[in-house]
């Protein structure tokens, strides 16, 4: 194993730059070092002006997603030694506006997320529910939605999705996967409300099933599956509305 590896890091300083450019840094190559460790080495020892987001270093917080050699990945879970002999190219997540260096603007997702109502909606009025009421669930009921509840909002799926890149109005993989997570929850009664949002023109039908969101997901959420299942649900709903009398739907 070589002693060091070169990192080509995308730099963008809004005060002076009209577009990003690359800057090269040589960092020590150690077996246990991730790309994030390399970036932190640069920040601490070489160039303090470099900006990037990170927090937990263990694939839970979802804040260190970047494009590594063109692939959206969590930098804390990607080892430098896998890119030997280098150089390894680090860019901000694709499809998002860049604020500075490797930091992207996520306001678009923050505005979209509440539109799918990712919380449990109960039929009764919440103001009259006792605070210690438990809504029980069996392990089988939990298993139905568990996979979709693993999302950490790391945005790798949005960076991998060409539909989102071409049509930023598309509500996107993670938001739809979270909608599915609550739809499949046995305690939830909000299916109808979410269906109205997701069957709009910027909802599930904008997806062409490229499937990249699922491939890049570090938590195996499978957003592509959530979207296709939603399409099936919405299509069945339309057929039912057409064929069945009002009361039977």
């Amino acid at each position: 194993m070589a002693d060091s590896i070169q990192m080509r890091v995308s730099r963008f300083r809004p005060e002076t730059d009209s577009q990003p450019h690359f800057q090269e840094y040589d960092v020590p190559l150690r077996k246990e070092w991730t790309v994030l460790d390399g970036l932190n080495h640069v920040k601490n020892e070489v160039d303090t002006t470099l900006s990037f987001r990170w927090s937990c270093r263990m694939g839970i917080c979802g804040s260190c997603g970047m494009s590594i050699d063109g692939e959206p990945k969590l930098t804390c879970g990607t080892f430098l030694s896998d890119y030997e002999p280098g150089p390894v190219t680090i860019e901000p997540l694709a499809n998002f506006p860049v604020i500075r260096d490797l930091v992207v603007d996520l306001s678009d997702f923050m505005a979209k997320l509440p539109r799918v109502k990712p919380w449990i909606i109960r039929p009764e009025d919440h103001s009259h529910v006792e605070p210690d009421v438990e809504y029980l669930q069996t392990p089988v009921q939990l298993d139905v939605y568990r996979q979709f509840s693993m999302c950490i909002n790391c945005m790798l799926c949005y960076a991998a999705c060409p539909v989102y890149g071409l049509d930023p109005d598309f509500i996107g993989p993670a938001a739809i996967a979270l909608a599915e997570r609550y739809d499949l929850d046995s305690r939830d009664h909000g299916k109808g409300e979410r269906l109205d949002v997701l069957t709009a023109h910027d909802g599930v039908w904008a997806c062409t099933f490229v499937g990249e969101c699922t491939k890049v997901c570090p938590k195996h959420v499978d957003p592509a599956s959530a979207i296709q299942r939603y399409k099936l649900k919405s299509a069945l709903q339309t057929v039912k509305a057409f064929l069945l009398p009002r009361g039977a739907r």
Binding site: F12, P14, D17, Q19, P20, G70, A94, N95, P97, V98, I99, D105, S107, D108, M110, A111, V140, D143, V144, P162, G165, L166, T208, F209, V210, G211, E212, T214, K215, D222, A224, S225, Q228, R229, K231, L232
Partner: protein, 136 residues
Amino acid sequence: MTPSGDEMTDMRLYRPRVSTWWWTRKRSYFVFVMRELSSVFIAWFVVYLLLFVYAVGQSEAAYRRFLGWASAPWVVGLNVVALVFVLLHTVTWFSLTPQAMDVRLDGRRVPGFHIIAGQYTGLLVVSLFVLWLVTQ
């Protein structure tokens, strides 16, 4: 409405543009675009089949004219290309089906390869039936 990043702090953002050739950048994107393109060839096979059935329904002379046209080199060439795309269409969509269908038996999810195997079995059964039908 939540204000966007620009409004909140008056930031100057760099907005990357998606290249027209984005689908050539990665193998999986290319396969996706080819899968989408394959639907054109599916449509062509449907038209071809309709023309064939129509010719058979007309007369024996019409049927022979159809065979003459169908054996022209450009039609054969087009059909070979169409066949390749139809195979791509079949294989890719069969392999994607388990993602769209959540089949559960006794509360347990049926593994994806069972669903895929079911589709290939169905394809085989229908193909054998068609073969039996035309060789009668």
